[in-house]
Symmetry: C2
Subunit: 624 residues, 2 copies
């Protein structure tokens, strides 16, 4: 293993750049897949950065003093993996036989199955917002002098999320964040909007509060100077290095030519490219080691969380219970919260008041909200991000990618369904359960009362992966005594008898309607089981199966959500996909099937057919 060095000269860095190009060509040609030309444009930038500036202990990727390096242009993975070879953590053999191969950690786009990768990239416009989150952690949580370097493509500057990122980086004075934009002029299908107009990029980045350095991205001295200046932590502005580069740089057959995005060179071309680039090299060298830093403040020991306690029958909104529980959870120093400028609606403001140093206002920028959560999660913190449930749809790509990043983040969406009333459909989450259930490895929770909310919010703080909790706007009676356990994957049977003829299944607002319906049915001589399916994913198949068995398969599911992919789907998936449905089901599925407008909660629940009267009537029809 090479020892850290700070005296790699520019000539050697340039030589390294050529090696990175050669290896990017070799890796992608060997795989028959990948993006060599997008790697070649940025090779000099990364060679200078990694050999002379990036503070990193390659043998200890978890060192709190390590700089972070994120490839927002994740398709330049050949370059990233060639860098890993150059610092001696990936062998040439692995690069040549692993890249893009089945079972290999050198995936087509970087993912954190590699210990040096913070976040998965490949959906453009996400690496820089993720970097904002890491930089927030560095400046405000770790209080460590690491820098976050993000290699960006020029095409992805068309994504609004990149400007959300720069906006937040300047708002939070993140001098520790540096975007290096590889302006190679060519996108996938043709030239970019702004081509090589570095002045246009400069005006935009400066207007958004960045310090901008415009350079020739193949001039190692200019690169070196810009990186040295941009990496200075003494200021208050994020850095943006605009590097004019040439796609396919160094191989005359493709350099700056269209039609070569995402195309590996055939072997004969690769051979010519390697010759033109000066042949194979096997430099192994490292740049500076990590900065000295105090340990991160992640200690959970001694954190005494005193969750709120609610009295049965008391009217409490689950969103309020969320805020109160979150504020209590803040006793854990790893717990961090953020919101999309609606904290007075989501009740996240209670955490902000109690723990202002660990609350980040993301304003109305839901993509950056999720990315910030992912980014602070990279540093081991446990983020809770909240907004209206409907507005998480704004960030679905970020949530999907967070799962690929193996992030553990807690999302809490308020104002679910038509229950919200007068504001109308734009504010009503009616797709959120479907969206969140479809995320890999996700947990989806939908409590009906304050006690279960408090329990589930605490459980979320230790769940792996993407967890989502849906809260309700209005205040409804507390159903459970404090201390009642609510295991993830469980459910509660609130009404049950040996002679149950039908089961009513709800969550959130519809559980209250199921209880009222069961009372009405009881008065009519019908015994109805009531199930609180607070854990939408994973689903309590055993309890549902028992209910189906007890009632001859007669189930009424009511949900304040569109009919597809929500509570009803969770129930039928659990019962049929597992074989439990073999004995047959007679379902009534009550969901929001027509476009709602404004109105009172009662009017809209009635119109959607998901209130107590409709649930009781559906049960009666099943028994007719």
């Amino acid at each position: 293993m090479p020892t850290p060095s700070t005296d790699i000269d520019l000539a050697l860095a340039a030589e390294l750049g050529q090696q990175l190009r050669v290896d990017s060509v070799r890796a992608s040609t060997s795989a028959g897949s990948g993006h060599p030309t997008s790697s070649m444009s940025a090779a000099d930038l990364m060679a200078v950065l990694v050999s002379r500036h990036l503070r990193y202990d390659w043998d200890n990727p978890d060192h709190v003093g390590n700089d972070h390096l994120i490839f927002s242009k994740g398709h330049a993975s050949p370059l990233l993996y060639s860098l890993y070879k150059a610092v001696g953590v990936v062998s040439d053999e692995e690069l040549m036989t692993g890249y893009r191969r089945f079972g290999s950690r050198l995936e087509g786009h970087p993912t954190p199955v590699l210990p040096w990768v913070d976040v998965a990239t490949g959906s453009l416009g996400q690496g820089l917002p993720d970097g904002v989150g890491v930089a927030l952690a560095g400046k405000y949580l770790d209080e460590a002098p690491y820098r976050v370097w993000v290699l960006c493509g020029d095409s992805e500057m068309a994504e609004g999320s990149m400007w959300e990122a720069l906006d937040k980086a300047s708002h939070y004075k993140l001098a520790n964040l540096i975007a290096i934009v590889d302006v190679n002029r060519l996108g996938q299908s043709g030239p970019t909007e702004l081509s090589w107009d570095l002045d246009a990029y400069r005006r935009r980045a400066e207007a958004f509060g960045a310090r901008v350095f415009a350079i020739d991205g193949h001039d190692v001295a200019a690169i070196d100077q810009a990186i040295a200046q941009a990496g200075d932590l003494s200021g208050e502005r994020p850095g943006v290095i605009l590097a004019r580069t040439r796609k396919g740089r160094g191989f005359s057959e493709v350099e700056d030519r269209e039609g070569w995005h995402g195309r590996p060179f055939p072997p004969d071309m690769a051979e010519r490219a390697i010759i033109e680039l000066g042949g194979e090299r096997n430099l192994v060298l490292r740049g500076p080691g990590p900065a000295e830093a105090a340990p991160a403040r992640l200690d959970r020991s001694g954190a005494e969380v005193k969750p709120p306690v609610y009295d049965r029958g008391q009217d409490v909104a689950t969103r309020k219970a969320y805020g109160e529980t979150l504020a209590a959870l803040g006793a854990r120093r790893d717990v961090v919260a953020m919101d999309g400028e609606v904290s007075n609606s989501t009740y996240a403001y209670l955490f902000a008041q109690a723990h202002p140093g660990r609350y980040f206002e993301m304003y109305i920028a839901e993509q950056q909200l999720i990315a910030a959560a992912v980014g602070v999660g990279v540093r081991g913190y446990r983020p809770f991000a909240s907004t209206f449930a409907a507005f998480f749809t704004r960030a679905y790509d970020f949530i999907r990618m967070a799962a690929i990043s193996r992030a553990s983040i807690c999302l809490v969406g308020s104002h679910a369904g038509v229950e919200i009333g007068a504001d109308g459909p734009s504010q009503m989450a009616l797709e959120d359960l479907a969206m969140m259930r479809a995320v890999h490895g996700s947990t989806v929770l939908y409590p009906s009362d304050a006690t279960s909310t408090a329990a589930l919010v605490q459980a979320m703080a230790d769940l792996d992966g993407i967890s989502y909790l849906r809260t309700t706007r209005g205040a409804y009676p507390v159903l459970y005594d404090a201390g009642e356990p609510f295991p993830v994957g469980g459910s509660k049977v609130l009404r049950s008898a040996d002679d149950d003829q039908v089961a009513l299944i709800g969550a959130g607002i519809t559980l209250h309607a199921c209880l009222a319906a069961a009372d009405q049915l009881r008065d009519e001589g019908i015994s109805a089981r009531v199930i609180d399916l607070y854990s939408v994913k994973p689903t309590d198949t055993a309890t549902l199966s028992a209910a189906a068995a007890a009632t001859g398969g007669r189930l009424v599911v009511a949900e304040d959500h569109h009919p597809e992919g929500g509570l009803g789907s969770a129930v039928v998936d659990a019962l049929t996909m597992t074989g439990a449905g073999r004995s047959g089901l007679t379902m009534a599925h009550l969901a929001v099937r027509e476009m709602p407008g404004s109105g009172t909660t009662a009017e809209l629940l009635d119109e959607a057919g998901i209130d107590a009267a409709h649930i009781a009537a559906a049960a009666q029809r099943l028994l007719a």
Copy 2:
């Protein structure tokens, strides 16, 4: 009805501004809900615009020469509806008894149930991107001299989508688009990021290519001059009017104070507000009429669409069939296409080559991609928008809102599922079916071959609402003869016998696997029905029920998608929710349950357990 006038003087416009404030207070107080203060800040802006500049025939909202007025800050609906009263199209009684009430067209946030509303707003950051679409139609399709005025909030300038919009507006030289930003300094939960720093907004907007006018938003003369200049169509830059305003303007108890976002005044406060604002008024007046314009080019008559024809057995990628069919559909002058800078992957480039005047490159900005589709749809065009299926997740909020906008747009996503191979999970759509099924009124299609793709793409062009078609990367055999009908909501039974013991259900890549599995099973003496479920939503319940009945409920569903919300859910929802599942189902559900990496298509389909061997094995297990 008042007659159009161009000589409403500024004093009268100011008087109108006060009326709009009074009516905004009255409407929201009468409803006990709404955003009076956010309406009051923008009242002078809208009074001057509508009385002196907006070219509009209020009795003929479909006039092609009408300007367009979009409230991107949809929560200012009291102001919008008060404007409608002022021009005489909504009565005071409707305003006072309808606003935010059940069954009323005056919803909490504007929707196109009103004839003067182009698009639903209320999810911030969407009205301006939608306006880009309308402006594109005006400049390039209608070639009409209308202007698109968009009232924006200052809080929503934190949404990246607003900058995607300005970027595209300047790229496409949309001088006919004017954003009027109501900089009232206060968001929902506190001050905005940039407060009243109009210079900061100016730098950003100018850097993104706009002509900027910074004014006092309560000075009617300044407003008048800025609107007159910004509305000039002779230039090539979009206009941005930055108006410094005061939230709650005109009522000293709330003006410029925190804590009054989204809160109607109690009746006694409202009374004091109305007195301070000078009392009720009932001005009815109209500004200039529409511009003269030639009829829009929406004539479909005489359009001879010659769809491509494919030979059975020929290997053709469905994405290619999409591009070829779309290019043929371009014979219809109302058909427009756009793409997110991956047209060479989605094959939308074939349309771009054939009909360059009706193709819009949206670069890597998927939110703006959808908004542009919605916007040209406002003008009656039929947009097809394409990108990688995975990247539609970026725009889910826009798709959801498009449904509320009653838009009819056609979305086509390529590169679905693990089938794509080496690129890895960031590029694999594995949530798209769940996401699209949950959209209100959506149609979800997933063809397996080129013939069905060609038929379904043609069908999409006449579907109402949001339609989505999922295409596959690789080339697979054509299964159907040209001319075979593929009704939306149908399916195809490709293998069937009286003694079928099991049914194999697939779509896209997995249908080919089902066919291979059926062949294998046949060799083992097992008769398997094979169903091509090309219409995922609506679902062909009759064919599925018949298959369940014929096979004793033994169904294998295989899908290249996560287990939740996709093909499997469509099948079990159809069979159980409708009561068809009463006889019991014995399902095997093969889906992508683990996080994929890179690999070949065959390796990844095998690993996910959705290839022919796994389908056959699952069928055998059901029969064991």
